[in-house]
Symmetry: C2
Subunit: 302 residues, 2 copies
């Protein structure tokens, strides 16, 4: 998996600072997470091929997460896209797109499927051959869900040297070996799978958690995640502002990361009030050292 | 008047290429013309103070002219704007903004006045102390109007040396002189105004004409305009595409400029199909030499 951060600032953007949007490359497919204003320019800037975006996930309908969707979907039409597109998000996304496209006369050239995501309970919302996407309800001023993307376990790797010791193992058995099954030879002997295969690389996982008030309930679902992006709109000393606006502080994000024992935390969705974001970074690192700041264009290999 | 071009490309933007938007500084007030995606970032980039924008004029509701309005108006709210804002544009702009703000939960902190502009006949739509804004119907695939901004004539300038020759002229008469009136002295002599004053600088004018098919009907209304921005989506050899999509070519824009005897023509709203826009420039200059290309960030003193 490869993550490209397209925008990681909260509203009131400045030059070079874009509102929320990320592109995740997974098994040759780009997944788009949120689409704040300017998303289509940022996708172009970082070479994300429009034709390889099949799924878009929207956390909630505040403008800084969705106002770039109209232009992006219109551009797909101008580029004469034919392949279907799936957009997952809160139920009112459907009337929103309907009204905007009707009043600005956009007639799509491609099938657009809108999938309403439940704001109340976690759900498996996409089950592809090699990965899944689950939703996770958050606690914001409007219906909001985070998303967790998990690779499925890869097939076990064949230990060709070990297999050679058993010439009676037919090539047809290899798929069973990759699937983790033991081998029963014609003479009845059982060769345990782990004698003939290696562990595959562990499946990777990424969680996109924004916007939300501090919500320790989500910790079990984030357990052992490889990379967690968690909003940190405010510095720790501004916790009262975070509480009031249903956002999180850098300390709160770090506490979630520590409790969930994730491998890495990325802070984002910064308020424009902080000139120096290292304040937020330092605060979070005291609680969870493996913390980094998001920035526009940041590339993360997961 | 000072014009700042924020975006001058048609849809499917690339990095650094923004869809239509311009800011015009006139007598200490910024006027915004169209608001394609990214307008708020561009306003910040070029130092246009949000608080000095009182009027926004939208030509039509295609996304590349209006999808940046949602974010801009939301940002005004986040900045706690209190002063009223006037947005002029096609009538369906009202339900469009209503739906978008309702579904994305934007509650404005300031009075927003939406003014429907007639798509059928030219009209004076803003009459300020020092300038006016008129609408001019265009010929596009949806209701579209261009806008003409004209300074009102400035007061005549006092010729202090000449006035000194007549000590009997009271200081209270100066306003009459500035207004162009003659002076009648106590002895009945009449001093003609032009003996005591100089001509003021001629009032300046700017026309924003986009998007439209070739429309010679507008020429009389553009007569003698100082700067004309006219869309030139296509090169001259692609006139069939222009006709089909209700856009103009560079040659057609130049013909309008020549017929209207404007002082300067700026071409814009470029299709992304042209790598080298100098083709359009050269074509237009053959017809109307005083032609320039628009580009993002271009600054024009009118």
């Amino acid at each position: 998996m490869e993550l490209r951060i397209l925008g990681c600032h909260s509203a009131t953007p400045k030059p070079g600072e874009f509102p929320s949007s990320q592109a995740l490359l997974i098994h040759n497919q780009w997944i788009l997470l949120d689409a704040g204003e300017g998303t289509q320019m940022q996708l172009r800037r970082y070479g994300v091929k429009f034709s390889r975006i099949k799924h878009i996930f929207i956390t909630h309908l505040h403008g800084d997460h969705v106002y770039g969707l109209f232009g992006l979907l219109s551009t797909f039409r101008l580029l004469n896209r034919q392949t279907e597109l799936h957009v997952h998000g809160p139920e009112p996304l459907k009337p929103l797109l309907k009204h905007v496209f009707q009043l600005s006369q956009v007639e799509l050239t491609y099938p657009l499927h809108l999938h309403a995501v439940s704001p109340e309970k976690p759900a498996l919302i996409l089950d592809e051959k090699k990965f899944t996407v689950s939703s996770i309800p958050l606690n914001h001023r409007t219906d909001t869900t985070g998303y967790i993307i998990r690779e499925k376990p890869a097939p076990r790797k064949l230990n060709t040297e070990a297999i050679k010791q058993y010439p009676e193992i037919d090539i047809w058995a290899y798929n069973n070996l990759k699937a983790g099954k033991d081998i029963i030879l014609d003479d009845g002997r059982i060769i345990p799978n782990n004698e003939l295969t290696f562990d595959p690389p562990p499946p990777k996982s990424y969680a996109y958690i924004t916007d939300t008030a501090y919500l320790p309930d989500i910790v079990p679902r984030l357990h052992n995640i490889d990379v967690l992006y968690h909003e940190a709109t405010f510095a720790c000393e501004d916790e009262n502002l975070a509480t009031k606006t249903f956002h999180s502080t850098a300390c709160q994000a770090a506490r979630i990361a520590r409790a969930a024992q994730v491998k890495k935390l990325i802070l984002g969705h910064f308020s424009s009030r902080y000139r120096n974001l290292n304040i937020l970074l330092n605060e979070a690192q005291k609680i969870f050292p493996e913390t980094e700041l998001a920035f526009e264009g940041k590339h993360i290999l997961i």
